[in-house]
Amino acid sequence: MTLIPHTETDAAYVIRNAAAQGTRLALCGGNSRSGFGDPVEGAEAMSSRGLSGIVDYEPAEMVMTAKAGTPVAEIEAALGANRQMMAFEPMDHRGIMGTTGEPTIGGIFAANVSGPRRFVAGAARDSLLGVRFVNGQGQVIRAGGRVMKNVTGLDLVKLLAGSHGTLGFLTEVTFRVLPVPQSVETIVISGLDDAAAAHAMASALALPVEVSGAAHLPQTVKGRFVGGALPEGEATVLRLEGLAASVSVRAEKLAAAMAAFGPVSRLGPGESLALWHEIRDVHPYADGTQKPLWRVSVAPSVGHQLVAALRLEAGVDAFYDWQGGLIWMRMEADPEAELLRRYIKALGGGHATLMRASEQVRAASAAFEPQSDAVAALSARVKHKLDPAGIFSPGKMAGAL
């Protein structure tokens, strides 16, 4: 049974009681990431989906406030009607996770979910201006506000973003939105291997053309995008957005510069939208399997080295977003957590998150990157200050968190 409070006051009451009785609560929104994170024993599910609705939306101020359980679809419809969007381009996890729940806006921020534009426009956490949440003692806490520039006090907003329901129960979020770009185009460079693609993407990002998406789609996945319409060979794709006149000028410039790396072609607005939507939602690995799927974040220049090293020892399929710094990696059989994390460390650091795997695999491999002792201890102390009774999904995020 899932607890579904319909007011913030009710939520606070439930949590106060749970804290008093030491009842563990697994906080969630629409459960579209069900099965993600380290398993938590004996927790009762508590969902924010009873707290739903847009509270305040001022298109002219580019700010929206919504209750945490509001469906993302409802938010996107309201924004779309005003030609606005969430710049961080949150992905929809249902495809890769094989789930059916309704994604909520609270879930987006609790998991700090971002898409292809993240590496230039910031993550969900960068757009989040304010939150209301219930802490582990059942107190309603307000942090941040509704203005873009705000340095008043400690930034608890950042702390709650990406805490996966282990620090507090979000009840309301206020976030910044941006105008939808008038036009979009994609430059495709064909036939580059992973290393050459990394080089091409770094060159593109060094040009004053404002690339807002940079992904590399190796041969194994390329055919799964835009119905197989991408040209022959591996596809390195670069997105340009903005005023139509400006996009076409920049596309000319970028195409000319990229011709040095390989054959260049262009995708218009329709195909571009579809392509980046599929990259965002990790379309090739929305495959209905439970093969271990990793989301790896490293420095862009070493992403391809990591994959090359792993390929020598394990069955791995991968593609790259964020200029090569975000790697979606599907393992053939074993998750190879230890190997993967050893190579990440050797290549200068980063983190690997196990997004999906069978129950047995999840029980044996930590979903979140283990942290250094000092950082882990610090994080545990922070958790204790928000959730002293340790009732919010203890152990979901590496160790004590």
Binding site: A60, E61, R83, N112, R118, F119, N135, Q139, V140, I141, A143, G145, R146, V147, M148, K149, N150, V151, T152, G153, L154, D155, L156, V157, K158, L159, A161, G162, S163, P179, V180, A202, L205, A206, P208, E210, G242, L243, S246, V249, R250, S297, V298, A299, S301, G349, G350, H351, E369, S372, A374, V375, L378, S379, V382, K385, L386, M397, A398, L401
Partner: protein, 479 residues
């Protein structure tokens, strides 16, 4: 010197050990890194919030992260307060010491450690100045985006402490949006790495928490920041309006139309006159308010974006539109804006407010601000980042007249409360420091503040890091 804002009483057990502490610090650090003669301590007694000053017990200027760690380990062991300091340009008193505190200055740690163009990052020591990063990478076509007015002097460590903004953050975000990682010394001397060249955190976003924590969670020794490819060109344009209200309404309409310029800066008549007299930037003097709108990109892009903005400005009865015709002219326009505080300082003493308000409330808050300063018999000049609602009323007063100074402080407090009541906040980019500490309860409930303080305690249970700042002195958790 004002006395209205209290500091914590000095810890007697620290004061009484002064000589021993100085001797111990001299053992930990090279001789040139420890300052303890009263005369030499004077430059460290205040920052840019000059109405308050306190002589510290000693000043240390470590050269390495290991030395920072050694100092912290020592101070932690003996419960000695530590006040971190970058360039001392804080406008909220964030770097003002206290009698029982060691000032830990990062000015000797001013090296750029690595520039990595493939990953578009720079890794620098905390004492590197903001502008020197952009200067180092500019020749290769990159820049570091946050640009506080004090960028010539202020340091990255200080920027991280205050989560500094600047004129161009409308498009590029503030420090927290451009910070990828830090090497930080915790209160007990442990050194941790948060973040790096990769994006996002594996666990809790401690990096996001540290940014803007005003030196209360640890000492940032090194930082990795994001570099951005420089746009092909940038063009600031001056828009003169009859009234502040018209200019304010124009800002709201520009943003609402879906055009996001790189910067929209606002100046009212007093600010225009002060800045023009100082910088001779060619600002029109026959207008009531001025917007500096900067667009960037290729010539064609800038033309297209500007055409849209001009059309909106015409709807609001713009009197003057003046585009910069050369790089020199563009630089002059920005020089005038960025020297606003310095130029104001030449004609009077001033305190600079920093509240942020929702864009729709700009005109209302501007009008109320002049009503408030009028009622106190004071003059005000407004110069601020209008695109994101971050207001900077400069309240002019005479520092030699204690009553005038007290009136200015009182008027400032009223203005900040006005910003909060309008749906905004006390500080957009300058930080709480001591200046706004006692107004925190106007913005936050006791439970909100208690939660922030509890999280702060997770980093520094004994509250020795910059202890008199940010949180009201009463109601703090027991150590």
């Amino acid at each position: 010197m004002s006395e209205a804002i209290e500091f914590l009483p000095p810890r007697p057990e620290v004061l009484s050990r002064r000589a021993a502490i100085v001797a111990d610090l001299a053992d930990l650090l090279p001789a040139e890194c420890v300052i303890h003669e009263a005369r030499e301590l004077v430059p460290f007694e205040t920052d840019a919030f000059i109405s308050y000053r306190r002589l510290p017990l000693a000043v240390v200027l470590p050269k390495t992260t290991a030395q920072v760690a050694a100092v912290m380990k020592y101070c932690y062991r003996y419960g000695i307060p530590v006040v971190p300091r970058g360039a001392g340009t804080s406008l909220s008193g964030g770097a003002i010491p206290q009698e029982d505190a060691i000032v830990l200055g990062l000015s000797k740690m001013s090296r750029i450690l690595e520039v990595d163009y493939a990953n578009r990052t720079a890794t620098v020591q905390a004492g590197v100045t903001n502008l020197s990063i952009s200067e180092a990478v500019g020749v290769d076509g990159f820049f570091y985006a946050p640009d506080p007015s004090s960028q010539l002097a202020c340091t990255i460590g200080g920027n991280i402490g205050m989560n500094s903004g600047g004129a161009h953050c409308l498009k590029y975000g503030v420090t927290t949006n451009n910070l990828l990682g830090v090497k930080m010394v915790l209160v007990d001397g442990t050194v941790v790495d948060l973040g790096g060249k990769h994006l996002d955190s594996a666990g809790y976003d401690l990096l996001g928490l540290v940014c803007g924590s005003e030196g209360q969670l640890g000492i940032v020794a090194e930082a990795t920041v994001r570099l951005i490819a420089k746009p092909e060109g940038a063009r600031p344009v001056l828009f003169g309006f009859e009234t502040s209200e018209e200019a304010g309404a124009c800002v709201t309409d520009i943003i609402g139309s879906g055009i996001i310029p790189v910067a929209i800066e606002f100046m009212d008549k007093p600010a225009i006159e002060i800045c023009e007299a100082f910088a001779h930037a060619g600002y029109p003097l026959d207008v009531g308010a001025l917007l500096i709108v900067e667009v960037e990109g290729s010539e064609a892009e800038m033309d297209a974006t500007l055409a849209g903005i001009v059309e909106i400005a015409r709807r609001h009865g713009v009197k003057t539109v003046r585009e910069s015709q050369s790089a020199t002219e563009a630089a002059l326009i920005w020089k005038g804006r960025k020297s606003a505080f310095g130029a104001t300082g030449r004609i009077a003493d001033y305190i600079c407010m920093d509240g942020t308000v929702p864009l729709g409330k700009l005109s209302y808050v501007l009008k109320k601000t002049s009503e408030i300063t009028d009622s106190f018999g004071l003059r005000v000049a407004n110069v601020f980042h209008a695109g994101d609602g971050n207001m900077h009323p400069l309240i002019l007063f005479n520092a030699n007249d204690p009553e005038d100074a007290a009136r200015a402080e009182a008027a400032g407090n009223e203005i900040l409360k006005l910003c909060v009541d309008a749906g905004g906040c006390l500080t957009g980019e300058h930080g709480v420091g001591i200046e706004k500490r006692d107004l925190m309860r106007h913005q936050y409930s006791d439970a909100d503040l208690a939660q922030q303080m509890a999280v702060r305690s997770a980093f520094d249970e004994g509250w020795i890091l910059n202890p008199s700042k940010v949180f009201p002195l009463d109601g703090r958790p027991a150590a």
